[in-house]
């Protein structure tokens, strides 16, 4: 049976996950006595995943490019230089210039700083909001849960981009405001996931024991439920970063994000549109490729983290 190579026979792992866990983590082969921590085993699964390493490498390179690059590659990204507008890639301007004469390679760095900063900060804030909301809702249950979750349902029924567009059209966007708007519109799925975790965690013995000993609800939520849902939280936060970056570049592309002379990758694409029919490809491709690379890298890491934390979940 097992030698049957027919496609209908499920693989040995038999699960949907792509990366079959390496043999070393299979529960049966653990050497007795010498037990490794769950963290170590999770780390092993993560490191075994080549796509994850590729993602981490890519992300380090991109962060280095955006935040350290300007120290080595000096360009003026504030004053327009119309004499050298729309130059194709050549010596002096490896990626050409845009319609204001800004050097595109230098602009990729400074623009990337904003895209990455806003994406990261918004994802952290959204995760915090979602965890607090979801943990409280799931822990208390009953009416509180119903009310809190219906609010989440209602906000989820308005597509994020639509809601974010309305809010940024009301108040002119700054970097801080974009972070808040994106966080306020994207904590909802996190809240739902954490609520699910909290529902199953609150009946655990250690939570019950803590309550018997006189621990309060807040202690249960923040010291026991949230920390024990850490796997779900971290995996979700990772994907949240990718989504937040996509949302901020979308807003900037639509002209309602970061304002000139500051820009981000979405704003660079928006700017490049004016030259699109003239064949100024260098104003479109670099920023777009950076967005794609960042999001792919983060998604690789997120997938690998999910596999790594599943090792922990197996022990529950």
């Amino acid at each position: 049976m097992s030698s049957d190579t027919s496609p209908l026979v499920p693989g040995p792992a038999g699960i949907v996950t792509d990366a079959a866990p390496p043999d070393s983590v299979a529960l049966g082969t653990l050497p007795a006595g010498k037990s490794r921590s769950l963290f170590q085993r999770g780390l092993e699964v993560f490191v075994e995943n080549k796509l994850a390493l590729l993602g981490v490498t890519l992300l380090i390179l991109i962060f280095g490019f955006c935040f350290l690059g300007p120290f080595f590659y000096h360009t003026d990204q504030v004053h327009t230089a119309l004499a050298i507008e729309n130059q194709p890639p050549e010596t002096g301007h490896p990626l050409g210039t845009d319609d204001n004469g800004y050097d595109i390679l230098g602009r990729l760095m400074t623009g990337g700083q904003i895209s990455l900063e806003v994406g990261l900060a918004a994802a952290i804030l959204a995760t915090f909001l979602g965890v607090v909301w979801g943990a409280i809702s799931g822990y208390f249950g009953g009416v509180i849960d119903a009310v809190m979750m219906r609010l989440v349902d209602a906000m989820l029924s308005i597509p994020t981009l639509f809601l974010a567009l309305v809010v940024v059209s009301m108040f002119p966007a700054t970097e801080t405001e974009l972070i808040v708007v994106i966080a306020l519109t994207s904590w909802l799925t996190t809240a739902r996931l954490i609520r699910g975790e909290a529902l199953s965690l609150r009946v655990r013995d250690y939570v019950q024991a803590m309550k018997v000993m006189g621990g309060g609800s807040m202690r249960a939520v923040f010291r026991h439920i949230a920390p024990n849902a850490i796997g779900t939280i971290i995996v979700n936060a990772t994907f949240q970063v990718a989504d937040a970056i996509l949302l901020v570049v979308a807003l900037s592309y639509l002209g309602l994000g970061i304002h000139p002379p500051q820009t981000d990758w979405g704003g660079m694409l928006n700017n490049g549109l004016q030259g699109i029919y003239l064949g100024y490809w260098w104003q479109i491709y670099p920023a777009g490729i950076m967005i794609v690379l960042v999001v792919i890298a983060i998604n690789f890491i997120g997938d690998a983290l999910r596999d790594a934390f599943e090792v922990r979940l197996q022990r529950r």
Partner: protein, 318 residues
């Protein structure tokens, strides 16, 4: 089943009610004074006119009464009035919504036609070259924002090669369906993103079903691999896909907003984007309610469809 339906519809109604509250709060959060905005800056010197305006339109009432008044209008189909376009939001919606429905409908059908065979093929050839290639492609396209993909398509296929038009069809609804020269690029842009996620779903759905007991039973009874796959696995794997379409509606509508803006397609999403630029709040908030209604109905239909297709759900939930 009936009890489940009633409970689910009731829940949706409550969700929609909360959406109207959120929208109303947004409406109130808009900076500035409505009376001044409509009467003009000279009204600052004419408090009586402002007071008369406020009395006529109910702005002098407590906010809860204002909400009920507004909700009453909403329920009778009055979505608001766009002062910028001098048109009621409902009539704007009548012009723009059909175009978005055509674009979204066509691209979703296209996405399903492409994604289902790809996902199935990937699952059958799991961890072989084809699987890796399509997995890589779906990662790539999942990460490519619609505005980047759309502009790349314009550069490559409308500017460098004149195969397709750079702009979506601008005629009546018939040309939206028949004018493939102009509609191809927007359709592909919107479909590709959906294909990336649908094919992943189909792949894992088929893989899930391949490990089920009924597959082993069917094989043990002597059914050929082909028969097991087509008669049993594919049919069961399609159940989650049917509901996925309903649940993907928010993402597809966001994609449509961007696609319509990139290709200058006069649908609802493009008007929404223009309204955001013009700060045309009545249109924005009217459309928000319509979009939320569409999303809620989409997920309601998805749930009902799931319960119809998969009898186990009915027993669990009731």
């Amino acid at each position: 089943m009936i009890a489940y339906l009633i409970r689910r519809v009731f829940q949706s109604a409550i969700v929609l009610l909360i959406v109207t509250m959120i929208t109303f709060i947004l409406l109130r959060a808009i900076p500035g004074n409505v009376a001044i905005a409509i009467l003009g800056p000279s009204a600052y010197r004419n408090p009586q006119a402002v007071a008369a305006f406020n009395a006529e339109y109910g702005f002098n009432k407590p906010w809860f009464d204002q909400y009920l008044l507004w909700l009453g209008h909403l329920l009778s189909g009055n979505l608001g009035f766009s002062w910028t376009l001098d048109q009621s939001v409902a009539s704007l919606l009548g012009q723009r919504l059909p175009k978005t429905i055509i674009l979204v409908g066509e691209s979703t059908i296209l996405a399903l036609i492409v994604a289902i065979p790809i996902g199935l093929w990937q699952a059958v050839r799991r961890n072989k070259a084809t699987d890796y290639v399509f997995t890589g492609l779906s990662f790539l396209f999942y990460a490519a924002p619609a505005f980047f993909l759309g502009n790349v398509l314009i550069i490559e296929f409308a500017v460098n090669n004149h195969w397709f038009g750079p702009e979506a069809a601008q005629g009546g609804w018939l040309s939206d369906i028949t004018d493939l020269h102009d509609q191809a690029l927007p359709l592909i842009t919107l479909a590709v993103l959906t294909i990336a996620s649908f094919s992943r779903y189909m792949r894992s759905s088929v893989l899930d079903n391949l490990t089920e007991d009924y597959v082993r039973t069917a094989k043990a009874k002597g059914a050929s691999s082909q028969r097991v796959l087509w008669r049993h696995v594919v049919r069961n794997s399609l159940i989650p896909i049917a509901t996925l379409v309903g649940l993907s509606l928010p993402a597809i509508l966001s994609g449509a907003l961007i696609t319509e803006s990139v290709f200058n397609y006069p649908g609802m999403g493009y008007l929404f984007y223009q309204s955001a630029q013009r700060q045309d709040y009545p249109t924005l908030l009217g459309f928000i309610i319509v979009v939320a209604l569409a999303t809620v109905i989409g997920s309601l239909l998805a749930d009902i469809l799931y319960a119809v297709l998969d009898p186990r759900v009915r027993y669990v939930s009731s």
